[in-house]
Symmetry: C2
Subunit: 249 residues, 2 copies
Amino acid sequence: MDTIFESMNKPSLYTVLSPALLHLYDVNNTLVVVIDVLRATSTIATDLYNGAKEVIPVDSVQRCIQLGKELACVTAGERDGQIAPGLQYGNSSFEYPREFIEGKTLVLTTTNGTRLLHMALSKGATEIVTGSFLNLSAVCDHLKEVNKNVILACAGWKDRVNMEDTMFAGAVVSMVEEYFTINCDSSRIAETLYKKGRTDMYEFMKKNDASHYHRLTNFGLERDIRHCLTADLANVLPEYVNGKLLLRR
Amino acid sequence: MDTIFESMNKPSLYTVLSPALLHLYDVNNTLVVVIDVLRATSTIATDLYNGAKEVIPVDSVQRCIQLGKELACVTAGERDGQIAPGLQYGNSSFEYPREFIEGKTLVLTTTNGTRLLHMALSKGATEIVTGSFLNLSAVCDHLKEVNKNVILACAGWKDRVNMEDTMFAGAVVSMVEEYFTINCDSSRIAETLYKKGRTDMYEFMKKNDASHYHRLTNFGLERDIRHCLTADLANVLPEYVNGKLLLRR
């Protein structure tokens, strides 16, 4: 078997640990997985899993309020762990059960994730999906099928690398690596982190003083963290199309 | 014992995984450890350990040739694994035994490392030293004594995160963590990587397809990689003072 030939025919996979590093990679014609585990992309997966019509990500509270009025839809977003003034709901998956969100449009303000979506789009990504542990298998299944170059793009926190987004990228790498050529140290670093932490990611984050563990715990959101670190609880694939996140069919 | 009070009195430590992320951190009044394991900061440690008078890092071959003429000193640098045209020596520690380099000035061109040194300086670092596994203990001993905020700055490769610089940062974190307040996911990611790889870092890099493992192996430099991953073979502390790297006394 000619493994070199095989390897050359596989699409590439790269992990980008911060939005501030995205410019180093060729985004053109790639599939970009936007990752913001705590909590934007977890909430997005939950909303669509529970039947929301669509989620419109915006980058400011002001824009969220404005669109909420124009579209007469649900608005959501937090600042410092509280529902932002002028908005109706927060960033917790628990706020969006099917009884509430089914059939509705949600406008969600998320600073790190939305900016990254727009960056990926402006750099020529042909397909953008969102990833979180809640929809880990849906993301991996799609990546295995799609035969495209892939970028796993971590939103991080204000451009700093964070633990949970890196772990999620590592989880994906560990599950799809046979299908890709991976010449990317960041991917292997992420994979090593995930394999070390996977048996209890909550405890791993706690033990390692992860910044978002502390930040969200200070807001009393331990339950949210645990939920967002659980695989496949909202196993759908949100796809970004014309400014909206929709269930990919 | 008041651990919160204790923690507040400790200086901070951050790891910056790529020069493209340095702007996110407050470099002012910090001690910056510049890390470029394969091979700039390994060669620098070796040169000074073997008695070189000083190492002048420059960012281009042209500038290296020019300074070499002006100062009538040894010039060194590689491009694509070969001694760069117009220069005399390469980036391998093995080229600089004491018999050759003692008492001499070396001008070394190193793209990633030199740029990072200049960035740290321009952002107000009060002290800049260079780190590599060859001088791991010297770096850690200094950090334990100095009682300053510290940034471990990885040079990476053309701003991409790389495995060996991240592992070195992780080694430092694991050895000095009691002396610092570390609210930094990158530091914990680096530490996890190091702890996973430390029993045989060469094999770990090989197994994980590290980009520099492949790059240097293609140039026939396996021996250099193994050497640069060995602790304390040139255990001195190079300090950057007025454009020159000198032995810190």
